[in-house]
């Protein structure tokens, strides 16, 4: 209805040009012909026209757009048609419509045709071709007139008369007011036609307009060309696009104008000035900011139209239009972004064009504009949207804050005293330039204008507004995570507070900013902020902090030398103030004052004995720019006693701490964290820990020494700057140096101390005192410590080789650790002599004196006196905590063996008299411990030292038989690593027996026995009379080291004593195998006969007298058991393999046993073994003699098979009767017992014989298993 009213207004008050500069503008369509008809159709038409969009195809390849068309229908008047040269587009009628209801040919001819012709002529006269004739038909009218022509004829007539070739210029609308489908169809067709024609007209007319505009723009180099004129032309186009709701296109027009103007300004700057531009260079007189509340700022537009606008006016107007369009496009954030660009740009352009601007004027303009933009955006967005897009607006806030601050400074509002008269004058000038407040905001409670006016009115108001803005900006920056920007605004605020002389408020901001800069390592910013902070702290009277900051600044290389000196002097001045106030000392962190570079210990291993001197050279790098007199430098030392710790014993300390004595401290890079992620490098060390007794490796590993640095939590705020809680440990131990001057750079300070109590001293803190000021290094890291030890005198005697060998001279090292005892002249070591171990020495043997750190001090000859009982060694004069070392030779002589034989049946015994022996396994040497008692000068007690000697040889013997002949073999094995020469071997019978002779079968010459080798000696035993039951033998051989040059020493021979018994051969066993009768050879699988003949070689002897012997009729018989065993499974014994025989005890008595055996394999087979045992019946208490055969058969023989094997493996060992007794007991039954013969008593003459067995011919049995 609104539109209808407008249309009605247009119809009635047609004289006024219908130009309304609002977005309600619509393209104009004129209506001629039947006005009543149109009025009746107007509501439907205006409602229906915009309902459906239409595609608008554009020229110049622009994107086609869907467009909703609306129109402003006005009555046709000739004045509406634009005259030649009129460029106005908004008032341009895009379409002319003629409405008629005529259906009567007569009426048509009479009036309508003429009317249309007149209308057409007027249009033609103005060159307008955009017209349309609408013929409205209604059934009602048709009915009234009966003789009417078919309705088409009227339309056809009109088409004939007016539309030569454009038949589409005439449309029919049937029954428009009826609600029928036909009417609807007709409406649709009409509307489509109308829209199409409108768009055609737009395309045509706008295209023409654009062409004209372009032509105009091409003339811009002409001297008379005016930007403002062109501006108005292009803006007309923008208005039309805006009218058609094509805001993007409208915006493009303004952007083009913007770019064109910018280019002119740039060119002007480059010296290529256009005349019209000089007009914009007039001095700025008004700075009332942007106006964005009105869609079109007519005031400014008129200025432009009249070519009176200043640069700021033009820019303001242009931006206000862009802003309006952007807000239509719902892009408020682009507004804020463009606003910031615009403001920066304007400032630059004014500078470029050298426009004279009163000081502060631009600041006012920018401030007002920023707030205006922000308010405009706030006006069209809700709170949540604004909060979510703070990042877009915060720039404007920050800019406004900055401008207000500079205005405040300019007008003396930020000073302590307030503005002076000059400042006030300036303020008045600035306020004048603002002009009066605009009507649209005059009634609002707050506006940018009011805010600025208020802020400039008083110091208090300014402060309030500035703080509000600053806090808001900081909060916004913080919220969106722009911490650095927030800190920068905070720093400005701090500066403001400092000017206002309220440093307590400034401090927070400065500290905050400093922390950020420190954390990110921006040295220059740190320096600058620190300088401000120092001033702030000075004003606040924070003496500690001020001095700390001063020391940091004094050491800051980014400052000039003078500034550094000034800050250094501040510290010195304070330090030298009279201390009558008795104030507390001020403790500051040292790292800014001086850096600890190295610590150098002397002695280098940092281990010193009680009473010893230790010096520590400290290298300090002074960071101060001038030499600083220092009252005292002290190192606080922590003392700890670690008792019961092996690591703290003198032995360990002197052995293990072998550093070069220099501890380097990492350079102070850590104090300036270039990066938080820069972790220190791993400090890895190999670690070996050896057992104290034998120096063998106990543990080994890798140690990371700075684990605590690597694994600690990464602190977000390193409080390097504020050494809060710097406290000095109150240590009783302190090293001092007084009255020094620390020169800039490297200083070396030496601390000396005399060690007192043993323990570990850790250097904890370093403190430099200057008057009242103390600079403290809280932790000395890496850990620096020295150890003080005390030590008891000690004597060690160690062999020079791995083990001492008995029988030859061996070197032994004596080590005397003096410890706290001082060797005086006349101090001797007294060794008690032992017969078995004489001490050999050279008169010129020397003792070497070492310091505790193994440095050789001197050498002196050793005086050794030996009496019968005692060897006394005079020790050289030696100070405490030294080591005396010398070597002596000792020899262990085994005493002569005693003939006593231990044990009943023990055959061999290496006897070495009194000395204890440890018989180890065969391959190991037997050892002997020899104890030496030594009296030391420092003790009333004797020291007993045990030396272990090894016997280099091992001997074994064996008895060999050949029939009745007997041989004794002795095997000597060299177990040591040395090589010996053997000579003078001998074997003697200890029991003097004349009829017994031992005939040596050995060479007489010397023999060399190499390491781990054996030598055999053999003697034949010859006798004339009856043999004794046992033979006691003593083997002896002389030896000396094969390499030894000196043979002068009387070395005792190696002896070996043993006993052989029951060695006379009693029985001869002979085994024979015969092939089966008639066969030449034995065959596998066929039975052969085995004959065993046992022959007695001697008559009744002493050895035979035992339980088995039975005597009847002067004949003696004994019982023997034989057993045929084939261990290699070559033979199968058929039938009984063992049996008991009764053997007459008489020489040459023979017993033969036959049995059958079967060879299992072909080839030369060894004979089966035949074993012979003495068969002892059960104890004679038994009357009944069990039939041996009968019980043997039941396999219940008590022969322990182990016995046989033992007997076999060690033929030396005689079967003891103990065993059989034991087995008898074990059985618990009256059982016969078996007793083996000793090795020499049975001679098997068939041992080692073999017999040929041929394979049987047809024993190739193939077994095939099919599964």
């Amino acid at each position: 209805m609104d539109g209808a009213a407008a249309a009605a207004a247009g119809q009635q008050g047609g004289e006024k040009p219908p130009v309304i500069y609002t977005m309600e503008n619509k393209p104009i369509v004129t209506c001629a012909g039947d006005q009543n008809l149109f009025t009746s159709l107007y509501p439907t038409l205006s409602q229906q026209l915009p309902r459906e969009p239409m595609e608008w195809r554009r020229s110049y390849g622009r994107v086609p757009k869907m467009i909703h068309l609306e129109s402003n229908f006005v009555q046709f008047k000739e004045e509406l048609l634009p005259k030649e040269g009129n460029k106005a587009l908004l008032t341009f009628p895009f379409l002319h419509i003629y409405w008629t209801e005529c259906c009567d040919t007569e009426a048509y001819k009479a009036a309508v045709k003429d009317d249309i012709t007149k209308w057409q002529n007027v249009l033609k006269a103005h060159g307008s071709v955009d017209w349309l004739i609408v013929v409205v038909e209604s059934d009602a009218k048709k009915k009234n007139k009966t003789n009417i022509l078919p309705r088409t004829s009227i339309v056809d007539k009109i088409r004939n008369d007016f539309c030569n070739k454009q038949s589409d210029r005439c449309v029919v609308l049937s029954d428009p007011l009826k609600d029928s489908s036909r009417s609807q169809e007709s409406w649709n067709a009409f509307l489509t036609k109308l829209r199409t024609l409108l768009l055609m007209s737009f395309t045509k007319n706008l295209g023409k307009f654009e062409d004209d505009m372009r032509t105009l723009r091409e003339k811009r180099t002409d001297p008379g060309w005016s930007f403002c004129e062109y501006f108005m032309v292009q803006e007309e186009l923008a208005f039309v696009f805006e009218m058609l709701q094509q805001f993007e296109d409208a915006l493009v027009q303004y952007d083009e104008l913007d770019a064109l103007f910018s280019q002119y300004v740039v060119n002007f700057g480059a010296g290529d000035g256009a005349n019209w531009l000089t007009f914009f260079c007039q001095p700025v007189r008004s700075w009332n900011g942007l106006i964005l509340r009105k869609p079109i700022d007519m005031e400014k537009r008129e200025l432009i139209q009249n070519q009176e606008a200043t640069l700021l006016d033009l820019r303001s107007y242009l931006f206000s239009r862009q802003c309006t369009l952007l807000i239509f496009l719902q892009k408020p954030w682009e507004v804020s972004q463009r606003a910031l660009e615009l403001l920066h740009n304007c400032v630059q352009e004014l500078k470029l064009l050298e426009v004279s601007v009163p000081p502060g004027a631009l600041d006012c303009w920018v401030f007002l504009s920023c707030l205006e933009v922000l308010q405009r955006i706030e006006g069209c967005c809700d709170r949540a949207q604004i909060d979510a897009n703070v990042s877009h607006t915060v720039g404007l806030w920050s800019y406004a804050t900055e401008k207000l601050r500079s205005l405040g400074y300019l007008c003396g509002l930020a000073s302590e005293k307030g503005p002076n008269s000059e400042d006030l004058n300036r303020t008045v000038d600035l306020l004048a330039g603002l002009g009066a407040e605009r009507p649209e905001t005059a009634n609002a409670s707050q506006s940018p204008y009011k805010k600025l006016k208020e802020a400039l009115s008083s110091v208090e108001a300014f402060e309030k507004h500035y703080l509000d803005l600053s806090h808001a900006t900081i909060e916004m920056y913080t919220n969106i995570g722009r911490i650095r920007s927030a800190k920068l605004v905070g720093k400005d605020l701090a500066e403001f507070y400092m000017r206002k002389k309220s440093p307590q408020k400034a401090e927070v901001y400065l500290q905050g900013a400093l922390k950020t800069y420190l954390a990110e390592g921006w040295a220059l910013l740190v320096t600058h902020t620190r300088k401000q902070l120092a001033e702030c702290q000075k004003q606040l009277g924070q003496i500690d902090n001020y001095l700390q900051t001063s020391s940091l600044l004094a050491s800051d290389s980014h400052l000039t030398e003078d500034e550094r000196k000034r800050f250094c002097q501040e510290i010195l001045d304070f330090a030298n103030q009279q201390t009558e106030s008795q104030g507390e000392k001020i403790i500051l962190s040292m790292h800014s004052f001086a850096q600890l570079k190295t610590l150098h210990f002397d002695p280098p291993n940092a281990v010193v004995h009680v009473g010893g001197k230790l010096s520590i050279e400290v290298t300090l790098q002074s960071q101060m720019p001038i030499p600083v007199p220092v009252d005292q430098i002290a190192i606080y030392v922590h003392f700890s006693i670690e008792k019961n710790s092996y690591r703290k014993t003198a032995e360990w300390l002197t052995k293990h701490k072998t550093s070069n004595g220099v501890i380097s401290f990492p350079s102070e890079a850590a104090s300036f964290p270039w990066s938080r992620n820069n972790l220190p490098a791993l400090e890895l060390y190999e670690m070996y820990e050896r057992s104290p007794s034998d120096n063998s490796l106990n543990t080994t590993g890798i140690i990371c020494k700075n684990v605590h640095m690597l694994l600690r939590r990464q602190e977000s705020s390193t409080s390097l700057d504020m050494p809060s809680g710097v406290t000095l440990e109150d240590g009783a131990h302190m090293l001092k140096c007084s009255d020094l001057i620390l020169e800039p750079g490297i200083n070396k300070i030496t601390f000396e101390t005399q060690a007192k109590e043993p323990g570990t001293y850790t250097l904890r803190q370093l403190c430099t005192s200057l008057g009242k000021v103390q600079f403290v290094l809280l932790h000395i890291y890496p850990i620096a410590q020295y150890d003080v030890y005390s030590q008891e005198p000690q004597l060690k005697v160690e062999p020079m080789t791995d083990s001492l060998l008995a029988g030859i001279p061996q070197k032994v090292k004596f080590t005397v650790i003096t410890g706290h005892y001082t060797m005086k002249s006349g101090d001797t070591l007294q060794l008690s002599n032992a017969d078995a171990m004489p001490i050999l020495y050279h008169p010129e043997s020397k003792a070497v004196i070492y310091s505790n750190t193994r440095e050789k001090i001197s050498e002196s000859t050793l005086k050794i006196q030996s009496s019968e009982k005692i060897t006394s060694i005079s020790l050289p004069v030696t100070p405490a905590y030294h080591v005396i070392e010398f070597e002596l030779q000792v020899m262990y002589l085994p005493s002569t063996p005693e003939p006593a034989v231990e044990g009943e049946n023990t055959v061999n015994k290496e006897a070495y008299g009194k000395s204890k022996e440890k018989q180890k396994a065969d391959s190991h040497m037997a050892t002997v411990d020899q104890k030496v008692t030594i009296d030391c000068p420092w003790s009333i007690y004797s020291t007993i030292i045990a030396l272990t000697f090894c016997i280099p040889f091992n001997a074994k013997h064996s008895l060999l038989s050949a029939g009745k002949r007997k041989y004794v073999q002795v095997c000597v094995q060299n177990l040591s690593e040395l090589c010996f020469q053997l000579s003078e071997n001998s074997l003697t019978n200890s029991v003097d027996c004349t009829d017994l002779q031992l005939v040596p079968l050995n060479p007489d010459s010397q023999q060399v026995i190499y390491s781990k080798q054996s030598i055999f000696f053999v003697w034949e035993l010859k006798w004339t009379k009856e043999l004794p039951l046992s033979l006691q033998c003593l083997f002896s051989v002389s030896f000396c080291p094969a390499t030894s040059e000196e043979q002068s020493l009387s070395l005792k021979p190696f002896t070996y004593e043993f006993q052989v018994e029951n060695f006379f051969t009693l029985y001869n066993v002979k085994t024979e195998i015969f092939p089966p009768l008639g066969a030449e050879y034995c065959k596998t699988g066929s039975l052969c006969s085995l004959e065993v003949s046992i022959t007695r070689l001697a008559d009744l002897l002493e050895v035979d007298k035992d339980e088995a012997l039975t005597e009847s009729d002067g004949y003696c018989t004994t019982k023997l058991m034989y057993e045929v065993v084939d261990n290699s499974s070559n033979w199968a014994v058929c039938g009984k393999s063992s049996g008991v025989i009764s053997m007459p005890v008489a020489a040459r008595a023979t017993h033969k046993v036959h049995m059958e055996v079967m060879p299992l394999f072909a080839g030369h087979l060894p004979f089966p073994d035949v074993r012979l045992f003495k068969y002892l019946p059960h104890h004679s208490a038994h009357s009944m003699q069990p039939d041996a055969d009968s019980w043997i058969e039941n396999d219940n023989l008590s022969v322990d098979k182990n016995v046989d094997e033992q007997a076999e493996s060690s033929s030396l060992r005689s079967r003891s009767s103990l065993h059989s007794a034991a087995s008898g007991e074990h059985k618990g039954l009256p059982m016969p017992r078996l007793q083996a013969f000793s090795s020499g008593q049975v001679f098997n003459c068939s041992t080692g014989m073999q017999i040929l067995v041929v394979p049987s011919k047809d024993d190739h049995v193939l077994e095939v298993n099919v599964t």
């Binding site: 740039v266 630059q348 920068l488 990110e520």
Partner: protein, 139 residues
């Protein structure tokens, strides 16, 4: 051309920073440091993008009244920041881009130096010359 060129480590400490009017050095330090806010914002905004598609050039970080600050970030998160005088309108985006690329190449050369410890301040003369040439080009 450029008035200040800075190379900033991944951890945001300066590896190299040089500005032409030396009396304004402090101001440029503040400007560059503050620009890191925007760099961080831009990096985190494009964090999800694939590495090979990622644009190293960050564009205009933020304009001030007198200067324009441009940013560039390498794949190893080393940032280049260039401050250009606002009045220097001859510099277009493309020129800035190519300057950054040149800077990046020179930086890569430093990294190739076996004696250079990544993370240390840059003292290379070659790099210095590159920077100087960029600062001198138009001025």
């Amino acid at each position: 051309m450029a008035v200040c060129i800075a190379v900033i480590a991944k951890e945001n400490y300066p590896l190299y920073i040089r500005s032409v009017p030396t009396e304004n050095e402090l101001k440029f330090h503040y400007t560059v440091h503050t620009s890191l806010d925007v760099v961080d914002e831009k990096i985190s905004a494009m964090g999800k993008a694939l590495v090979d598609q990622r644009e190293l050039y960050l564009g205009l970080l933020y304009p001030t009244e007198d200067y324009k600050v441009y940013g560039y970030v390498t794949n190893s998160k080393v940032k280049f920041v260039m401050v250009v005088d606002s009045s220097n309108t001859a510099l277009r985006d493309n020129e800035i881009r190519s300057m950054f690329r040149k800077l990046h190449n020179s930086y890569t050369d430093i990294m190739c130096n076996p004696f250079y410890n990544p993370g240390d301040r840059i003292h290379s003369r070659a790099f210095d010359n590159t920077v100087t040439s960029m600062m001198m080009q138009v001025c």
